[in-house]
Symmetry: C2
Subunit: 683 residues, 2 copies
């Protein structure tokens, strides 16, 4: 199927919606239902659903379905909205795909709780074709776990993307908002196909010109982009500058308790909604890494967020308020300071003070998107506050979309973590969706990994992360295996061996990346600024609060209550005890929580030092293994995609070798102890 | 005296030409000669000399001298050009200041070998007034040591200055050449007053737009700037892009043996000289840090440089060719690789192959402007090649004009180094001025430290480096003491106690900076990119070839012939042996040449480790001492200058503390050995 985008189409451009691949997988017995699409609903989003279904059918079965609004007793696919029997206006979005075969009726019915749900049902049906499901297996009933399934674009008006590794922005170029709506439409389609329903259009770090997005200067054009997303059931948010009242030259203060400031934001909200009636709200990074915020005026984050929330409430908008607040001028000399404690300390005292249309956006871990971190202890500690968990789809610390790193493996750990906040089985995913503490909304947010690169995500295999993010945001109970194999099948076809190989590559990739980078949860062995490649001491004496404290005898951060920073005490009792004690602390987080001697013996029987050596040698071997598997797929994969990924594996191997050698040499120089298996470590 | 610049004048703007200060120092008995300036010469530069002399007299004695062209038997100052009795067209620039008092004649005669020399004589006379010399002491006869006394501006057309710490460029702003000639004129005056006679107007890294400087697009404006310098006897050079024939879109190659390329450069030279008849030539950074060069075409540097020299020869121009050529993609694993060896290896084989109007510009040390390095072994090894030694006046690695660091102390070491190339007393200064090997030209080049900051050099005390550079380029035999106290007197007046204090601060400053930064010649403990502040491992695993190899037992680079990289063998025999052996190697360069155990005992009786601790503690104490001395001068110094320097000392102290703590902790963590004097080192 041809894509709408106006760029030269890369074979990976259609991502997991590759109907050429679907052709081979799709069950031919379903074709007969595809001649007619029956629907009585008239709405923008259902219209999209019909178009998407038609395009898919055409692409897969080479027939052009007819749209009908009356049942003519012919096999068809019917799209309908379920009648809402409950009085619950907060009904959860869901859809049903049924095969009805009785008397004169033989049809597939895709029904949803609302127009968006119908669209999701259609996409799910299309996926079923790609997955080769038979008519007997396509039936399903699904409800989303989360109200908020949100993408954050870190795109700047300049066209740069902060921490972007996939080319330039598709939204902005050279200081202007793009008019290439075709590409944006293609993106909206991809997002909607995996269930995303919100997108923040600009970087959380709001620079001067972007501050004007909320004015007449930019709203007419943003409205057009919003309309594209709206067709796909996706509502837009904007990142706003807390100091906008000052920066836009209207006021001398941004104090949230100031009447003029409040009026400014009310007027701003009114203006935005006059352009974009389904505008979703604001995302705010305040008092963080030098961005302005309520602290400037002696106010707290609740006062700051609530003020914005009041302005948006009349329109049904929300404020998404980031909790990435910490002291970025730390003193490395002071071992009692702990950046990991900051989010909890800043926000737990405010629990219960946030208005109902405020949502806190909390990074999955207490530090910053490292390859392995414990869950942020804010989850489970905020009982009266709406929350979303923030993941980073873009591979800032995890390989820049050069190295393969399937991130659902990491995200699942967070989502399935038992906070023990209300007894056993108090999972993070039930905290953020509001179930555990009966909060009104919540969900999952992810920092996008796409740009204008021909395959969207630079590395075509990194599409699996965008796919997986969407799927998990819809249903966090999905397994990584299912996500990976579903993605591989939809993208590369249903050849069992191929799917199995790629699935295995994906599932192993996160641990491989961990093997050759940062051991045992310590993190931060990375080059400052770029965050790619090794630099063990790169952050060690910096002001960022990110240390490992390696000396000749040991390494790690003592975060215990007994002798350390006390961070472990931010977890609920069972978890606090688990992390507090070396015996019960999960070994893959040992150095996150404890300063340990190199000769401490792990459960594997290896010392920590030998574990570091082993993993770094193994990491490189594993990358070679990944290369080999990929090379074995040459005949199965489109040659362009094959070569592009192949090239990235070459770079990954180079990177892995550099990591191995730098890290091993670093610890060899620190300890003087050679590898016990006699492998060469550079002196 | 009012300055010509159009900026709000900072009290430090006039630098060492501060006539308000001179007023108090100047001998009143000289005043009587100052009513008349007698000269029969009519030339641009002598005209400048007359103007400068008049302005100085007016500023100092408040009288306006009359210019006369006949001797009327009144006391006067006479400016004249000495008759050249020798047939030597290569006569060395020099001047004489004489007091003639016989019969009816009572005058001061300032005569020079040429018009520029007259100007230098006038400036020297003016300085004498500022130094409070009596009529009996002003007599002097001076010849310059060096033909080339050259400033390199690393200014970009954007207005940025590479490694500039004094604001923006005074030559360029926002992609345009400035029209603020007044400020450039003031700069020319300062340079000329200390004997500078060449200036390179643009960065050695020639970016795309600057490549067009040699075209009609920019030459009309560069011509105007050249004219300003010309008035002060300073000739301009331009840094050129070796790939200009390609970049300017004329040719598909820049191969120096290609006829079209040769024609391109001939035509370019013709064009430049049609605009700027006294144009001095080109500065070229080729095949260095990714800049293009002859290697691209399988040619060597002699072929590259000679091709350009041929183009310039008809006009009397020269090619200054930088020797900063090394592999910047080194592998840290390979301890036999040694960046220090690169310049020698690249250029010694070419000795004798460069044309007579080519001059090699060689950095003082073999690495890159570290606080302490040995002399570059190229000096003394090139016997048939014109050379200039390159110093960095701008404080890239030496404190960014925040920290006080009087660099003549460092430069003198290089200039006075005995290369042993032709027996004892084969000093570097005699290599570069051409005396030792009878080469035809040579001298000293320095990377400028000025910008549009109100005091020119950011830190007003950094003016001493510009002054000292000029003075040394004129006469490298001057002592640091003399330079420092002359500068202090001219700048701050002749109060003996004040001058002594400031002189001592300057003379101590380089070792203080060394104390709290990199010990024993090792270098590179600095933050990559910025080159300010500590980062001991910052370059340790990089591709820059700049390592210290610290492990738990020792530190340093083995550059011996016996067991190391063999770099010591690039020195002439005595020096090679001196550096080769630990016993004879100067201790302040010990770690540059040898990998040493921490417990090695230095002549001081301290181990290397304890030496590192001691020096870092001492460095901070000494900065506190500098602060105290400066504070004691509050009543002696203009309040604006006082406060500005005071603020910088506060920043320097912060920097010194950070260096002390990071370096000491680094080695404490490496060794586990505490300070033997019991001072606290952060763990």
């Amino acid at each position: 199927m041809k894509q709408a985008g106006d760029i030269t189409l890369h074979p990976a451009y259609s991502c997991w919606m590759n109907f050429k691949t679907y052709q081979k997988s799709a069950d031919q017995s379903i074709k007969k239902y595809c001649r007619f699409i029956l629907t009585k609903i008239s709405s923008r989003v259902v219209n999209t659903a019909v178009n998407e279904l038609s395009a898919a059918i055409e692409g897969i079965y080479h027939i052009k379905p007819r749209e009908i609004s009356e049942n003519h007793d012919v096999p068809c696919i019917e799209l309908s909205i379920e009648e809402n029997n409950s009085a619950d206006s907060n009904q959860v979005c869901g859809f049903t795909i049924k095969h009805i075969n009785e008397k004169t009726t033989d049809k597939i019915v895709i029904s949803g709780t609302d127009e968006c749900a119908v669209l999701y049902g259609v996409f799910r049906f299309i996926f079923s074709l790609g997955l080769g499901k038979s008519i007997d297996n396509i039936q399903t009933e699904q409800k989303t776990y989360n109200r908020l399934r949100m993408i954050n674009q870190w795109d700047n008006l300049s066209g740069d993307i902060e921490r972007g590794y996939s080319g330039r922005s598709i939204f902005y170029e050279n200081g202007k908002i793009t008019k290439n709506y075709a590409r944006i439409r293609d993106y909206a389609r991809l997002l909607s196909s995996v269930g995303i329903n919100h997108i923040v259009l600009n970087n959380v770090n709001v620079h001067e010109e972007e501050t004007k997005f909320i004015t007449d200067k930019y709203l007419p054009e943003l409205k057009k982009i919003a309309a594209v997303f709206s067709d796909f059931g996706i509502r837009i948010l904007l990142s706003v500058n807390f100091a906008a009242p000052i920066v836009l030259g209207r006021l001398s203060t941004a104090d949230p308790l100031d009447k003029d400031v409040q009026r400014f934001w009310h007027e701003t909200a009114n203006k935005i909604y006059s352009y974009i009636p389904d505008f979703a709200g604001f995302l705010v990074k305040a008092d963080s890494e030098s961005s302005p915020g309520p602290y400037t005026y002696g106010r707290d984050h609740a006062q700051g967020a609530n003020m914005l929330a009041d302005a948006l409430r009349p329109h049904g908008g929300i404020v998404v308020w980031r909790c990435f607040v910490y002291n970025c001028h730390a003193d490395w000399r002071n071992r009692k300071l702990d950046r990991a404690k900051a989010a909890y300390e800043n926000f737990v005292p405010l629990d219960g003070r946030f208005k109902d249309n405020v949502v806190l956006q909390i990074k999955n871990g207490p530090m910053d998107f490292q390859i392995r971190e414990p869950v942020n202890p804010l989850f489970g500690s905020l009982e009266k506050t709406n929350q979303v968990i923030e993941f980073q789809i873009t591979q800032e610390y995890t390989g820049h979309q050069i190295d393969l790193c399937f991130l659902p493996s990491l995200w699942k750990e967070s989502l399935d973590f038992d906070t023990a906040a209300k007894g056993k089985n108090s999972l993070v995913r039930d905290v953020v969706n509001g179930k555990l503490f009966h909060t009104s909304t919540g969900g999952i947010a992810g920092v996008s990994n796409i740009g204008d690169s021909p395959a969207w995500t630079g590395n075509p295999l990194a599409q699996a992360n965008l796919f997986g993010f969407g799927r998990l945001s819809w249903d966090p109970a999905l397994s990584c295996e299912d996500i990976a194999s579903e993605w591989a099948t939809l993208t590369f076809g249903s050849n069992v061996a191929t799917v199995e190989k790629i699935t295995n590559m994906l599932l192993r990739s996160r641990e491989i990346y961990e093997d050759y980078t940062c051991p045992l949860g310590i993190g931060w062995f990375v080059n400052p600024d770029s965050h790619y490649g090794p630099n063990v001491d790169g952050y060690e004496y910096s002001h960022w609060g990110t240390y490992h404290y390696a000396d000749l005898k040991g390494i790690g951060v003592d975060r215990t209550m007994a002798t350390g920073t006390g961070f472990t005490g931010q977890y609920k009792n069972e978890n606090a005890q688990m992390y507090e004690h070396i015996e019960s602390c999960p070994e893959n987080l040992l150095l996150f929580f404890h300063h340990m001697p190199y000769d401490f013996v792990l459960k594997s029987g290896l010392t920590i030092l030998q574990h570091i050596y082993d993993r770094h040698f193994r990491g490189v071997e594993e990358v070679v293994e990944l290369q080999k598997i990929w090379d074995s797929l040459q005949d199965e994969i489109d040659p362009d995609i094959f070569q592009e990924v192949r090239h990235r594996f070459e770079l990954q191997l180079k990177n892995a070798i550099e990591w191995r050698d730098v890290v091993n040499t670093y610890f060899y120089r620190k300890t003087g102890i050679p590898d016990e298996k006699g492998r060469y470590i550079y002196p």
